[in-house]
């Protein structure tokens, strides 16, 4: 399944924001390449710029300098609509705060990306995925009626719904207790393997990071890949 050309490539990426009149550099000269099917973790302290990097790599925003290529296309030069099209078909997301729509049921939340990708039978596909994450009995429940762990499982089902080539996860267990976090990360890893998706996650959970094939650390806007982690495969 894995090919040799990198599915995600970041070249000379620098990102600055302008709060007030000052220019603040969040990310500096980031270089990164992830191969198809790989799983990678980016660890760092709060405020180190890891979530910003994730957003830039996923095409949610454009960097001040440098280039991001996703699946062979330079997304940092695309306009917003092209990036949206790219996200709809090839990218999945899991957020720390789940980001489920409160007025929609679990089923409807999972159907959203399928509908946007004009899937022929979104309800069917969504139901299957929810059963896969163990929520087959909770299809008609709204997020408010679900626990944190259940909500994150809905979010994971949604992330995999459109069968993305690459999945970005932002602190997927950050809002969950240890046991629930463990169960959610198991699910994430399992689905990732089953679907052959590339996984890029941002976390400060060392345990979770160690379950990824590659591990990067970010500090004061600079990314490094500690040698011991490179190429290592950790699994249960």
């Amino acid at each position: 399944m894995a090919t040799t050309h990198p599915i995600l490539e970041v070249r000379q990426l620098t990102h600055r924001v302008n709060p007030g009149n000052e220019s603040l550099t969040i990310l500096r000269d980031i270089e990164l390449a992830i191969e198809t099917g790989e799983s990678a973790a980016i660890v760092g302290r709060s405020g180190s710029g890891k979530t910003t990097l994730l957003g830039l790599m996923a095409g949610l925003d454009t960097p001040t300098e440098g280039a991001v290529s996703l699946d062979g296309e330079v997304i940092s030069q695309m306009d917003e609509d092209d990036r949206a099209r790219m996200r709809a078909h090839r990218v999945g997301f899991v957020f720390q705060s789940f980001q489920l729509l409160p007025s929609l049921t679990a089923l409807e939340n999972v159907m959203l990306p399928l509908e946007l990708a004009s899937h022929p039978s979104p309800a069917h596909q969504a139901r299957e995925l929810l059963e896969r994450v163990g929520l087959g009995e909770r299809l008609q429940h709204t997020p408010r009626q679900l626990s944190g762990g259940e909500q994150q499982r809905v979010a994971i089902a949604r992330a995999f719904a459109a069968q993305p080539r690459i999945l970005f996860a932002d602190e997927p267990t950050g809002n969950l207790d240890n046991d629930t976090g463990q169960a959610v990360s198991d699910l994430l890893m399992a689905l990732n393997r089953e679907q052959g998706t590339t996984l890029v996650m941002v976390t400060h959970d060392e345990q979770l990071a160690e379950r990824c094939q590659r591990r990067f650390s970010i500090e004061a806007g600079r990314l490094s890949e500690p040698a011991l982690a490179a190429g290592m495969e950790v699994d249960e």
Binding site: D61, E80, A84, S118
Partner: protein, 830 residues
Amino acid sequence: MRSAPAGWFRKTLRDWREREVRIVLSALVVAVATVATIALFASQLQHTLVTSASAFMAGDRQLEAENGQPVPQAWRDEANQRGIATARVVEFSTMVYGGGRFQLVSVNAASDEYPLRGQIEMQATPEAPRRQVSAGPPPGEVWINPRLLRLLEIQIGDAIEVGNRALTVTGLLLRQPDGGFAMSALAPRILMHDTDVPSTGVIQDGSRVEYENFFAGEEAALDAFYEWLRPRLSPSHEWASIRDGQTLSDSLRKAERFLLLGGSLAVLLSSVAVAVASRQYALRQRDTVALLKTLGQAGPHIARGYLARLTAWAVCGLIGGILLAIPLSWGLSLLISRLLDQPMAYRMDWLALGPALATALVALFAFAYPPIRRLRHVPAMRVLRSQPGETGQGALRDGLVALIAVFGLVWLYARELELVLALLGGLAALLGVLAVMGWCLMMALRRVSGGGNAWRLALVGLYRHRRASLAQMSVFAMTLMLAAILVLVRSSLLDDWQSQLPEDTPNHFLINIAPDAVEDVRDFLTERDVSLGRLYPMVRGRLTEINGQPVRQAVSKDEEVNALNRELNLTWMEALSDNNAIVAGDWFDAGQRRGVSIEAELAERLGVDVGDRLGFTIGSETIAEPVKSIRTVQWDSMRPNFYMVFPPEGALTDLPATWITSFYLDPSRKSVLNDFTASFPTVSVLELDHIIDRIRDIVGQVTQAIEAILALVLAAALVVMAAVVSATLQDRQREGALLRTLGAHQRLLTRSTMMEFALLGGLAGLLGVMAAEVAVWALQYRMFEGAFRWHWPVLIAFPVLSAVVLSLFGRWQLRPVLQVSPMLLLRRLE
């Protein structure tokens, strides 16, 4: 006590930082401002209209004594003591001598103060320009009807003798403000000073004299004076205010009602805005309350805290609203006063602010308080985990309380039970239709499955948010219904007024045409291309008996029937006039000689039905006829109208009659009148063009006022919609950001959002306008006395406009979602 005003103010300032509080307060300010503006403006308009209408009767009130006795001086003194200005005119007929001839004239002898309102139109010589003056001739002088110059063959500056007194003719009397409608003055009129009357020696005991007294002052003072006066009046006294007159008062009453309707709708709309925003506020406060409870505060303590907060908001909303209303109403008054002959000073009517105060209190405590009060039931457990299904609790009861409160408020405000019931009926119909429509809609939408297509996404969105969609649609539909009611009533009101006085409304009356001159008059005018209306014979007589009983006994004392106090114009005709309609009984059969047809309102007040026998005294004759039919009469049609109509060859035929007719004369052809009066010196010409113009002016002013009120209410409706839309702003933005993250491109998002809102708006508009038709149908007949008709332009325009406006709202709401990167937005909304 710590809750000093400063503390309250500080708290409110802190609350202001919360979006929902800003909306509640804004809605409250708009509510108070709208109601206060309308109330202040209505009071000013009322004053303006009363003043301009009063000009038609030379005062705000008239008291006429027909018993030949002057009104006691004590009554006038009482009025003066109450700050009411008084004036007096003595009316009698007598022969005057001048140029070697005698002529019967109708004399008006006026006091210095006459006219209290309006002006006298006169000319110094036949060639001089017409002038408006605010007093009659001084003692020793007289102004005469131009016809008298010819009849007596005298010149300006000559003297005429009125009884024993010689008076110098110093002007021609063209028009008195109160002379418009009185048809009794058949002889040419002269105006002199009332101090000259005793020296004429004309008025003796038993002379037929009428004493007209005029009063002008503040409405409240006039009403209080009337209360004082009423027990002292005898049946021969006739008290009249502009509201009792026919033509003008109808327009005024309708305008007043329209303003009340507008104000009531503004109250409803603003209450809706307050309700929506405060419900949203309560929802957002649940976490805070749960936290406070966790920290050890008891439910009642928390409830008291929120109550204090609401009170502080009420004070701020009231002050803000009134500060806004004062310049607004002043501006509106300026607009209106430009249309008046004389500029009017702006009066600040503090009493008019009462409804605004009531609105603020009711809006807050009936609409905002219930959801906030329920906050104390929020479980502390919520801190750990939100409980499902806790949002809808007690909503029905709240709704009921709110409904009762607001209708109480509208009733208090408009004092029209019909209005309240019509609104309530319209709302009930609307809610019923909404429930059915909503259910059908959701059933239909369920079948739509989503896709990348904007339409499908919009439909799916409507279904997915069905609770919110239905709630928003209800509020929009209600808002639009209220606005549509006003638009519909306004258009039919204006149409009504316009059709009441079309371009060719007869503006001249010919009275006192002798039977043998009828043909000549007709020929004369036809030759000059003046199209003459129908000619009616006229016999003057009193209604004296009903079913053989004297009329005074037959009619209960409580009823004040003016028609009984004076001679009526009786007529006969073969075919019913255009502007009359039979409501009971039948019109006379061909060849029928017995029977009488009576006007409907008079019949009702007299308690007369078809078959009752009415007895009349005409000169020295008496006749009695059974009522054959009851007719409605359009009194403001500017055509000869009669209370009593007899069949041709009927009871009246042999009695001495004169004829009357009306016609339209273009202002450019006034010279025809000179020829006419030269040819027919005994025929009286009544020029009503001036009055018709004045009515048109007033209708114009009222129209402007109505447009202004309409604009205000539409603005209030817009605020409601903005409040409703922004209540879900955050959720919608979060959803937009998420959809973008999941790959929805901007155009799809924009289109589907705009379509969703357009659908919502279109449906709400359609439902609202349909419900408005139901309410207007009820209102129209009872309150504005117009006929029901469908209003296709409004039926089409409203849904379209509301769809457009709402889709623009939707687009506006989406703006931050499109401008900011989705990542930033998600973080911001977390």
